[in-house]
Structure formats: structure tokens, C-alpha cells
Amino acid sequence: MEFDWIKIPYALLTLFIVLNYGLLMTAIIQKMGARAGRRYGIRFYQNYIDLIKNYSMRSKITHGYMFYLGPVFRLTGGIGLLLFVPTIYGSEMWSNFSFSGDLILALYFVFFGTLGMALGAGESGHPFAALGVSRGLSQVTAAELPFAIAVFTVALQYQTLNFNEIVAAQQGGFLNWTLFTNPFAVAAAMIAFLGMMMRSPFDVVVAPQEIPIGPPTEYHSAYLALMQTNRNIFPIAKIVVYMNLFFGGAGSWPEFMIKAFLLYLVSALVGVVFPRFRVEQSIRFFLIWGVPVAIIGLLWV
């Protein structure tokens, strides 16, 4: 695997597919959630409208350099994660830039965006932004625990840190998926997944609906648009990681889309069912449920 100029257009194409897929999928899932709650819900193209609207807002203010750069970091994190992980198994081109690093890179690159975002929000000077960051970081780091252990379990199980090799090991029928070879690890990872998606019950961090709290408080217009873009890319990038690690990867784009949809649906469903946790509750939740399960998974290997 080496760099080739042709990878750049492929990367852009991946990005385009994922962005559009993300926009549509989130809208559809939101609509499904609304319908389940006997509401009408948004239109399936609503996300596009929001995005375009925000990109073209004319009121543009900034609180400083970091405020300005925060969303950039955020989006870079999302895109980077997506591109550092091979999207489609077996395809040299859809592996994008995964030659730069392996699983560990993905694991740590997750924080890149979080960090930048938090910094940007911090510079806004809005106490709620800081409060949100505090909560978000607390929760994410706690959620990260079972995930990291699960990831490591997988690496240990397949004796490699290379995504391609991990996926390769899961080929030949769904019973070879990590989901079935090491269910505990997957369970732990899924618990973490819920937290990382920041959906209910772990959505007190963003809590955009009720009170103006959370990092995006002071963001608006193009900044918000960048973040919205990211909100459609980043979860899918994470889902790609999950898919590769636990669910046999995706051999083609359709397989990719189905698996991504199903995984996303999981978090949405849980969100519909459970009420919201306070932050310390969610930390304890991850420590009490996520981590032990992950440990069992680790010892299982």
C-alpha cells in the first residue's frame, strides 16, 4: 500500500458518498423515530436544507482564532477518521489513506476533532459551552473505556492491528464475525457506541432541544454548517470502524450501506426507549456495565 495520486479523487468520492448517505440516513431514522412517537417528523431532505441554509447565513461573527478553527478541527477529525480506515474491504482504492496507520491511528484520531471542537467552544467564552465540554469529555472518556478494551480484544484475538487483516479474518460467513466469536467484546463496544453517538440516553451533552447548552451554543452559520457536515460524516466513520472490527466489514457499497443503517438504527432505538442519564450516571453506567463486560471479553480471548 502506497500513496498514489489517484487516491485523492477516490477519497473525495468516498467522502461524497458518505456525506450524502449520512444526510439521508439520519433524516430517515429521525423520521422513523418521530413516527414511532406518532409525530409527522421531518422531511427526508430536511438535512440538506439545513446544511445549505447554514452555509449561506450572512451573520458571521467570531470570538477568536480558536473559535474560528474549532469546527475545522472537528470536521478534519471526522473526515480524517473516515479516510484513515479502509471503507470497503478488499478494495485498494476505497481503502483511501489507511496506509498511513492502523487501528491505533483510528482509535486516537477520534479525539482530534473532539479536542479542536472543545477548544473552539471554549474560546467563545460562554460558560455553557465550557459546561458542555466538561460533560462531553467526561462522558466520552468514560465511554471510550469499554471501546478501547474491546478494540484491543479484537486486536489480540486476530493478532494484528491491521484493519484489512482483521476483516479478512472475519470472512466466510457471518458466524466468523467478531459479534459471534467474541460477543462480550462486541457488547461492550456497543455500549460504548451508544455513548459516543451522544444519543439518548447519553445526550445530555449536546441537549440541543431544551436548553442552549453544549459546545455548539455559540456556533452558527458556516461554523454550524461545518459541524453539521461532520455530524453526518463522523458517526458513519465510527460505524465503519465498528463494522470492520466486529461485523465482518463491508465488501461492497451496498453491504456497507445496509450495515451502517442497521448499526445507526441500534443507537436510535435505544435512544427512543431510554430516558436521559445525568453525566455522572452515564460515567457510572460505562464503568459498571461497559468495562466489566469488556474485561470479560478480553479474558475470553
Partner: protein
């Protein structure tokens, strides 16, 4: 050389001569006194020279023209000559020091002083036990007289108490002498030696009665209340004699007497001595009066030497070296401290802060306490080393434990005192320091250094005082009056030159440490250019630390290693103490460090088994039954320095309260000494097993827990530098974890950590320190919003925290990557989980650091601040460049080490294939990560710029919340207790258990001391009870043993 009998003739003659002078000619009388003492000193020195340099054997002096045992004879050999010199010099210096008092009291007082010195010389020289008695009576009576040379009216009661005790002693001693005479048929020690036979029956008891009164002259616990009262109330110049000269003479008398009793009495001396040593040191802990404290310390030191005398058969040839080293260290230091106490007006320990006005006196004080604590390069250090080795080799572990326990207590109160001296408020009425007193004190300090040199020469090891690095550091003492900037230049040049000259001899691991210590140290020193004035004391301390570090990494023998270790400890202590509020923290630093050092010395001694010049590489050959214990001792020692959990409580304060440019030194560089020790340990000893448990596995757990707790606690600090300090604890935990994995990548990761941690922790400490200097606070919630005022600092911190947290693309990620690869190699899953947990937590504190300081709302009082001074920024910029370079090209530093590690761990190395680094499990291309990340970032940024280029900059306060506009930045900056939810969730992990534990121990010791010292009621009759109780108790114990 004239006959040693002239020592007595001159001194006594002068005393008699004084009687012929008129009462008023006190100046002349004093001159005669000084002259006589100086002459005595000269004669003693002559004999010492003849004995030591020309190797002459001991001379016998017969009196009355008759050979012993029929007439009294004197002997002067090497130890006698040395002690005589000590006694005469002490007498001389005291005579000079207390001149005013002597002049006031007239010629009689001087005669008393002369006779006291004469009698001490007599005790040293004579070989006749009754003669010893006579001289002791002279000493006792003259002590009674000299006590009166004091401004303290209480001296009178101290005098009568002493006389009362002296009466009891002399009664017992006379009975002992006559019965020993009856049993052996002689009064001459050399002719009494012989018969175990004759000493049987009543003879043993006779010897007991002979020995015990002499022991009581050594003021053993509990029969020593009288001595403490004297120390407290007498003129300090006399106390100097009592402690240094009288103590030495009495010790020597006991040593002589032991020729009669034989080796079987050794344990008695050792027991009595150690009891005094430990208990007196405990009692001293709660003592607030300086002179009484010195008294306790004297008693303790004498007890230690007595314990050594008791082991003289065991110590064999090195006995004189050890006992002499301890004695000389004690005598010179104690005399010096007593002289110093005369220069201090108040009698509280805290009053010593007044001495701070004169840096020379601070130097002298530091010299004295280093001597007393047995720190290099002083004689006590060599002696302690040899002593512990000899005792360990013969399995007397219990003795070693007691000795080291007592020593740490002693270091405790001495260094606490030094802290008072440096940090407590000075009195408002600074009197002038009398020049004579200063000179005498300095002479004592100088004598200490001289003794240090001599002991170094005698030691059979490289003389520490001829090591280039150390001499360079000490050289700064001489040029301390230069301006700081000049000294800084010299220091930087010196360190670089030293590196240039020695780097060719380094292997890759040494090279890493060498670069960090010498070059890295020089870089940090760039920041020191911001200081103006002279900055007295900074450079000797800093360079001492660097010298110790430089010596440490090239040490081949255990002795060199340990000496370097102590040097760097001492240097860094002085350095840390310079911080404004550093007093308690520096104290706990030095105490933990010394305790750790004691573990190290015990470990080396256990490993060496008496073998001289033990090479560090020989650790590999330690017998299997000892190996785990050696390993444990050494590991504890080294891990104290890296502040593993439980032993960490010294670190946060010490690092946080240090000066701006000192924090990076101690954090970025000094901590690596511990890691280096662990590397040396593991590479030589591997992983011994104890009861079936691999010790590296234990270390793995310790490392993991340290990483977790360090990070966790860092997340809850409000003080920025403390946060960084806790972060260092966590980071060191990672490194220890890596090393304890005992595989190729683990070690590589640890070494990478060494480099990374140096760079980013130095950088963060500098920038945070710089900011704190500007804002005047280290509390993060009092800062905020500084990004606009200090963008460069912000940028540095940003780079720093990205690097620390391990987020790609900076170099911290490389460490994490290797870490994961390393643990895939290893089988130890449970501790790994802990390490996992600690990873993300690092993120918490790092964000908090940058957020609370630079983001959020700017406080009103900070609105006019500027970037920290130029010189503080210079190293930071260098670090940023380094960090980026190291991020892109880690191979620069690591490839060689990787190859080198193949020697130890042939398996599992890395492949360095162009831009790609591959391990057995994964791959990593730092350059590409950087390029891709940079590319995406640039593209997104362009996009935003394109859309949003005309963004309007608004004031920070232009926000709305809770439907109101905020009006005070303080209420709007969310920074205090930032991670409240986390605290709520895991409060039980944050309990300060270690702090409570150590605090509890300290409190218990203090409470014990506070209770036990009630024992010294001050009533002379109670003191008689103690004395007789001591005699009877000892008798009963011996009876029981028989």
C-alpha cells in the same frame, strides 16, 4: 616531631602560666590560650602527617622511665593523632569563637578551657584505665565550669545536674576499675587484654561496671537528660567542644576499653548505641529549641558511632575508615552548627532564617547538614556505604534497617530546619553578624570539605571531589557573586562542552539520557536568562543536579551510581527549595528521596555481599535466593524517584512550587533518573521471581495503577503546575509499565516516552510557569481568556497537549502506537485494562489545562498582560520545533535504540522501511499521517475561509445566557471543579489515602516523641534514676542473655 607528651605539657603549662598574669591582662591571656591550642594542633597535625603520609607506626611514650604496665604510658597512632587534631582544632576554634565571653570571665575561664582540652588529649593518649578516670574527672569538672560561660542563667542548674551525674558515674567507674584491676592484675589496657579467663566470674561484672560508666559518658538514651540540658544552656562554643571533642574522646575510650572486654561485648555497645540513635532522633523531631535539637542530634550520632564500635570485629580493616568517617562528619558538622547557633539571636529553629542574609552561612549550614546526613561527598557518605555493605554482607539486616530508619528521621528534622532557614520570615531587627563567628564557622565548613577530600582519597573508589562534573558544579560556589546571566552562559557552555567531550563513550540508551540531561538541560537553562541579578545559590544547585545526572548515566560501579544518585538528589533538593512556597514540599521530596536512596544502598549492599568495587553489570550474577530481594530494594528506590503511586506524595508539591525554570528541570529531566535506574536494574537482573510471582509483573501493576491514579488526580487539580506534576506521575507510570513489559517494544516505547516526556513536559511547565509568573497565580480558575494576550503560549500549550494526549499527528501518538504493539506482545491482560482506563483520562486534564487558562473569559485584572518574557519563550519555541520534528521523524532518535535493543530482546523489533514503520502487528507512517491530516485540515480551513472570510470579531462578552448578559468575567468563566460529574462518579478513587498514610506515620512519630520527651523532667534526681535504671536494666538484660 616533638614528643606527644608535650601536648599535655604545653596545654597544662599554659593553664598554670595564666595564673601568673594579672587579672586585667585578659587579652594577653586569651592570646596565650589560643597560642597553646594552636601549638597543640600543630603537634597533633605533625604526628598525623607522620602517621598518615609517611606511614610511621604508633609511638609509645613511657613516663617515669619505666615500662608499662608498671608506669603509665601513652600511645599515639593514626587514630589517636587524628582525634588529637580534632580536639585541639575544636578547642582552638571555640577559644576564638567565644573570645568575648572568655575575656569577660578572665584568665580562670581560659585555664579551665585549656585543662578541658588537655584532659581530652589525655583520654585519647593514655593506655591506663585509672588514668582515663582521672582525665575523665578533669573533663567532668571542667565541663561543670565551662557550662557557666553562658549568658543563660539556667546554665547553673545544668551544671549542678551534670555534677550530680558525674558523681554517680565516678563511683561506679571506680568500683569497676578496682575490680577489673583485681581480676587482671593490671591497670594497663594492653596488659588487661589477655585473659577471658581472668575476666570470668566476678571479672565480667567488673568489666561491666567499668564499661557502663564510660558508656554513660556517651550520653546514651535514657541516661542523657543532663547532657541535653547542658547543650541547651551552655555557650554554643563550649557545646561544640562537648559534642565534637568530648564525645570523640569518650568514644575512643570505649573503643580502648573494648580491648579488655573482647568482642563478646560488641552487641552491648551496638544495642545501646542504636537505641540512642533511633530514640534520640525521634525525640528530636518535636524539638523546637535549636541547641537542644543539636543536643539530641549529638546524642544520636554518638549512638550510631557507638553501634559501629560494637561491630568493629565484623568491620575489620574498614572499621577505622567507617567509624572515623562518621565521627569526623559528626564532629565537624556539630561543632559548626553550634558555632552557627551563636550567630542566631532567637532560640527557635525558625529564628535561623536570619542567617539567610549571609549566603556563606547558608552554604556552611548546608555543608553541615549534608555531613550529618551522610550525603556525598562527605566522609559520612563513604562510611555509611561501607557500613551498610559490611552489615548486609554478614546478614545483619535488622541493624541496617534500624540505622537507616534513624538516619531518615535525622534527615527529617535537619532538612526541615534548613527549610526554616531558607523560607521562614526574618526578624525585623537584623543585627550585624560578628565577623569572628562567621570566620570560625567557615573554617569548620572548610574543614568538612577537606575531610571530604581525604575520605574520598582513602575510600578506594574514585574520589568524588576529583570528578570533573562535580567540580564544575562546585566551582559555581566560587563564582556565585557573578551576575546570573554570565553564570548562565558558563553553565550552558559547560554542559554542552561536557556532552561534546563525553558523548562518544555513550551507548544508545546512555545517549538518549545524555542528550536529555546535558543538551536538554542547557536548553531549559536558556529560560534562566530571564532572571536578573545574581540569583545566588541557583547555579551551584542546578549544576550539582546535572552533574549527578551526568555521573549517573556513566556509572559502572554501584558506588559511583549511588554517589551520583545522592548528588543529584541533593542538588535537586536545593533547587526545589528555591520555590516561594516550596518549603514543606522540598522537605517531603528529600525525605522520600533519601528513603529511596536507603533502599538502593541496601539493595546494592545485599547484592555485593561484601565484594568491593561491585560492578552494576554484576547484578546479573546475584545469587538466586538474594536476587528478588535485591530487585525489590532497588526497584523501590528507583520508583520513589519516579513517584509511583503510594510513594508519589512528594512530587506534586515539589514540582509545582518550584521556580519557573526549575519545574521543567525537575520534571523533564530529573524524573528520568528513576527511569534510568529501572532500565539499569531490569537490563541486568531481568525478572526474578519471589514466591512464584514475577517481580516485573508486580511492577507492571504498579506502573498501571500509577498511570491511572496520576492521570485521574491530575484531572481534579485547580493548580496548573500541580496538574502538570500529577500528569508526570501518570506518564512515569506509563514508562514503568512499558519497561516492566520486558519486551522490545515496551522498552522502545519507554525510551520514546523519555524523550517525549522531556520535550512536552518541559515545554508545558515553561509556558504554564511563564503564564503564572505574569498572572501571579497558579490557580487555573483565576486565569482564563489569555489566548488573545499570549497567543504564542497558547500555541505551545496546544501543541503540548496534543502531543501528551497521543492524538495524531504529533509524537505522542507514536508512543501510544508502540504501546499497543508492545502489549500485544505480552500476556499480562489485567494491568493492561488499568492502563486503558488511564488513557482517556489524560485527555480530561489536558483539556482543562488549556481551557481554563487560555479560553473562556478574560479576567479584568489580566487585561494588560503580555506574553511571558522572551527568554522563557525561547526554549518553548525550540521544543515546538523539536516536537514536530520528532513527530515526523521518530526514526532519528529511535532507530539506533531499536537496533541496540535487539541485543536484549531479539524478538519483536520494528522495521524501518522508508517512511513506514512496521511491527509484527501493525504499521505506522508518521509522515503520511502528518501530510493527510494537514491536507484535510487545510482543505476544510480553506472552505471555511471561503465561506466565512468576513467574519466579524466580537468582544468576548458578546454572549447571551440565561436571558441575560453576563457582567463579570469571574462568574462567567466555568473552570473551577471542571469535571464535577467525574468527581461525583468516582469520588472513592480520589481519597488521599497515600497522603493520609504518610501523614499518619509522621503524626504517630511526632506523637511518640511528644510523649517520650516528657521523660526528661529536668529534675536531677530523675536523671539519676535514669542513669541507675540504665545500669540496672543493662545488668538484668545481660543476666537474662547469659
Amino acid at each position: 616531631m616533638v614528643s606527644p607528651i608535650y601536648l599535655i605539657v604545653i596545654t597544662l603549662g599554659a593553664a598554670f602560666l595564666l595564673g601568673l598574669l594579672s587579672e586585667r591582662r585578659t587579652e594577653l591571656a586569651h592570646f596565650i590560650t589560643v597560642l597553646a591550642l594552636a601549638a597543640g594542633g600543630l603537634v597533633s597535625f605533625g604526628w598525623l602527617w607522620i602517621m598518615a603520609a609517611e606511614g610511621a607506626s604508633a609511638v609509645e611514650i613511657y613516663t617515669a622511665g619505666t615500662k608499662p604496665p608498671f608506669a603509665i604510658n601513652l600511645r599515639v597512632g593514626l587514630p589517636e593523632a587524628a582525634l588529637l587534631l580534632l580536639i585541639y582544632l575544636t578547642g582552638l576554634m571555640s577559644a576564638i569563637h567565644m573570645k568575648d565571653m572568655l575575656l569577660r570571665k578572665g584568665r580562670r575561664a581560659m585555664a579551665v578551657l585549656l585543662i578541658a582540652i588537655m584532659a581530652l588529649a589525655g583520654i585519647i593518649m593514655t593506655r591506663d584505665i585509672f588514668n582515663i578516670f582521672v582525665f575523665f574527672e578533669l573533663v567532668a569538672i571542667s565541663t561543670g565550669g565551662m557550662v557557666l560561660l553562658s549568658d543563660d542563667p539556667r546554665a547553673l542548674s545544668a551544671g549542678i545536674k551534670y555534677l550530680i551525674i558525674a558523681q554517680v558515674i565516678s563511683i561506679l567507674l571506680l568500683v569497676g576499675i578496682i575490680f577489673t584491676y583485681q581480676a587482671t592484675g593490671s591497670l594497663n589496657i594492653d596488659f588487661m587484654k589477655t585473659p577471658e579467663l581472668a575476666l570470668g566470674g566476678g571479672g565480667t561484672l567488673a568489666f561491666f561496671l567499668l564499661l557502663v560508666p564510660l558508656l554513660v559518658e556517651l550520653k546514651p538514651f535514657p541516661a542523657n537528660g543532663w547532657a541535653l540540658d547542658i547543650y541547651q544552656s551552655a555557650h554554643p562554643a563550649f557545646s561544640a567542644i562537648l559534642s565534637a571533642a568530648t564525645g570523640s574522646a569518650a568514644l575512643f575510650a570505649v573503643d580502648k576499653i573494648m580491648d579488655i572486654g573482647g568482642a563478646s561485648w560488641g552487641p552491648v555497645l551496638t544495642g545501646v548505641g542504636l537505641l540512642s540513635f533511633v530514640v534520640s532522633n525521634i525525640l528530636a523531631l518535636v524539638q523546637k529549641n535549636d541547641r537542644r535539637l543539636l543536643g539530641y542530634s549529638s546524642v544520636a550520632q554518638t549512638g550510631l558511632i557507638l553501634a559501629v564500635v560494637g561491630q568493629r570485629e565484623l568491620l575489620g580493616e574498614s572499621y577505622l575508615f567507617i567509624a572515623g568517617g562518621l565521627l569526623i562528619g559528626h564532629a565537624v558538622a556539630k561543632a559548626g552548627l553550634f558555632y552557627l547557633s551563636d550567630l542566631v539571636k532567637g532560640r527557635m529553629l525558625t529564628n535561623w532564617a536570619d542567617l539567610r542574609r549571609n549566603p556563606l552561612l547558608v552554604f556552611a549550614f548546608a555543608t553541615f547538614i549534608a555531613m550529618l546526613s551522610g550525603l556525598p561527598p562527605f566522609p559520612g557518605f563513604y562510611a555509611k556505604w561501607e557500613l551498610v555493605h559490611a552489615l548486609m554482607a554478614s546478614g545483619k539486616t535488622g541493624l541496617v534497617v534500624l540505622i537507616l530508619f534513624g538516619a531518615i528521621l535525622e534527615a527529617g528534622y535537619l532538612f526541615r530546619w534548613f527549610g526554616y532557614l531558607m523560607k521562614r520570615p526574618q526578624s525585623n531587627t537584623p543585627g550585624t553578624l560578628p565577623l569572628r563567628g562567621v570566620l570560625v564557622t567557615m573554617a569548620a565548613a572548610l574543614a568538612g570539605w577537606l575531610a571530604a577530600y581525604i575520605w574520598g582519597e582513602l575510600s578506594g573508589y574514585d574520589n568524588l571531589l576529583s570528578q570533573t562534573a562535580l567540580l564544575f558544579a562546585l566551582g559555581f560556589l566560587l563564582i556565585d557573586w557573578f551576575p546570573a546571566k554570565l553564570k548562565n552562559t558558563i553553565a550552558i557552555a559547560g554542559m554542552l562542552a561536557f556532552f561534546w567531550q563525553s558523548y562518544t563513550g555513550y551507548d544508545p540508551i546512555q545517549m538518549i539520557f545524555g542528550i536529555i540531561i546535558l543538551v536538554g538541560g542547557a536548553v531549559i537553562l536558556l529560560a534562566s536568562y530571564h532572571e536578573r541579578g545574581q540569583r545566588i545559590g541557583f547555579y551551584p544547585s542546578a549544576l550539582l543536579m546535572f552533574a549527578g545526572l551526568a555521573m549517573l548515566i556513566v556509572a559502572e560501579q554501584s558506588f559511583q551510581f549511588f554517589a551520583a544518585w545522592e548528588v543529584l538528589t541533593l542538588g535537586s533538593y536545593f533547587l526545589i527549595l528555591r520555590g516561594k512556597n516550596a518549603e514543606p514540599h522540598a522537605l517531603s521530596y528529600i525525605l522520600f528521596s533519601l528513603a529511596g536512596a536507603f533502599a538502593i544502598i541496601a539493595g546494592f549492599a545485599l547484592a555485593a555481599q561484601g565484594q568491593a568495587g561491585f560492578k552494576i553489570t554484576a547484578l546479573a550474577d546475584v545469587a538466586a535466593d538474594l536476587a528478588p530481594w535485591v530487585f525489590i530494594l532497588l526497584a523501590i528506590g528507583f520508583m520513589t524517584k519516579t513517584a509511583v503511586i503510594g510513594l508519589h506524595i512528594w512530587l506534586p508539591g515539589a514540582h509545582a512550587e518550584a521556580e519557573t525554570d526549575v519545574s521543567p528541570m525537575v520534571s523533564g529531566i530529573l524524573l528520568k533518573a528513576g527511569l534510568f535506574g529501572i532500565i539499569v536494574l531490569l537490563s541486568n537482573m531481568g525478572s526474578p521471581e519471589l514466591y512464584g510471582v514475577k517481580l516485573t509483573y508486580v511492577m507492571l501493576w504498579i506502573g498501571a495503577l500509577t498511570a491511572l491514579m496520576g492521570n485521574l488526580m491530575a484531572a481534579f487539580q485547580e493548580d496548573a503546575k500541580r496538574l502538570l506534576a500529577y500528569s508526570s506521575i501518570g506518564q512515569m507510570g506509563y514508562a514503568i509499565f512499558g519497561l516492566a513489559l520486558m519486551n522490545h517494544l515496551g522498552w522502545l516505547m519507554a525510551l520514546m516516552f523519555v524523550i517525549n516526556h522531556y520535550i512536552y513536559k518541559s515545554m508545558l511547565f515553561l509556558s504554564v510557569g511563564g503564564v503564572a509568573k505574569r498572572t501571579g497565580t497558579k490557580l487555573m480558575y483565576k486565569m482564563g481568556g489569555l489566548i488573545t494576550l499570549m497567543p504564542l503560549s497558547f500555541f505551545v500549550v496546544l501543541i503540548g497537549i496534543i502531543a501528551v494526549s497521543g492524538v495524531p499527528p504529533l509524537s505522542g501518538f507514536g508512543g501510544r502506537w508502540m504501546f499497543y504493539n508492545a502489549i500485544l506482545d505480552s500476556e499480562n491482560r489485567l494491568p493492561m485494562i488499568i492502563i486503558f482506563i488511564s488513557g482517556p483520562i489524560a485527555f480530561l486534564y489536558l483539556f482543562r489545562l488549556i481551557h481554563a487558562i487560555f479560553l473562556g473569559q478574560l479576567k479584568d485584572e489580566h487585561r494588560k498582560l503580555k506574553e511571558p518574557s522572551f527568554w522563557i519563550m525561547v526554549p518553548q519555541v525550540i521544543y515546538v520545533v523539536l516536537l514536530l520534528a520528532f513527530a515526523v521523524l521518530p526514526g532519528m532518535a529511535l532507530q539506533k535504540v531499536d537496533t541496540f535493543l535487539n541485543g536484549m530482546f531479539p524478538e519483536g523489533g520494528l522495521n524501518w522501511d522508508g517512511l513506514l514503520i512496521t511491527s509484527d502487528y501493525g504499521y505506522w507512517s508518521p509522515v503520511w499521517i502528518m501530510v493527510v491530516t494537514g491536507g484535510i485540515f487545510a482543505a476544510v480551513f480553506m472552505l471555511l475561509l471561503a465561506i466565512n472570510r468576513k467574519a466579524q470579531k466580537v468582544k468576548q462578552f458578546n454572549i447571551v445566557y440565561s436571558a441575560e448578559r453576563p457582567y463579570r468575567p469571574e462568574t462567567t468563566h466555568f473552570a473551577w471543579n471542571f469535571f464535577a460529574p467525574y468527581r461525583k462518579a468516582i469520588w472513592f478513587l480520589l481519597l488521599p489515602i497515600a497522603t493520609r498514610f504518610w501523614g499518619g506515620i509522621t503524626e504517630a512519630l511526632h506523637a511518640t516523641a511528644g510523649f517520650m520527651r516528657r521523660f526528661y523532667t529536668g529534675d536531677a534526681q530523675h536523671y539519676v534514676f535514669h542513669l541507675l535504671g540504665f545500669v540496672v536494666g543493662l545488668y538484668l538484660i545481660l543476666l537474662g542473655v547469659q
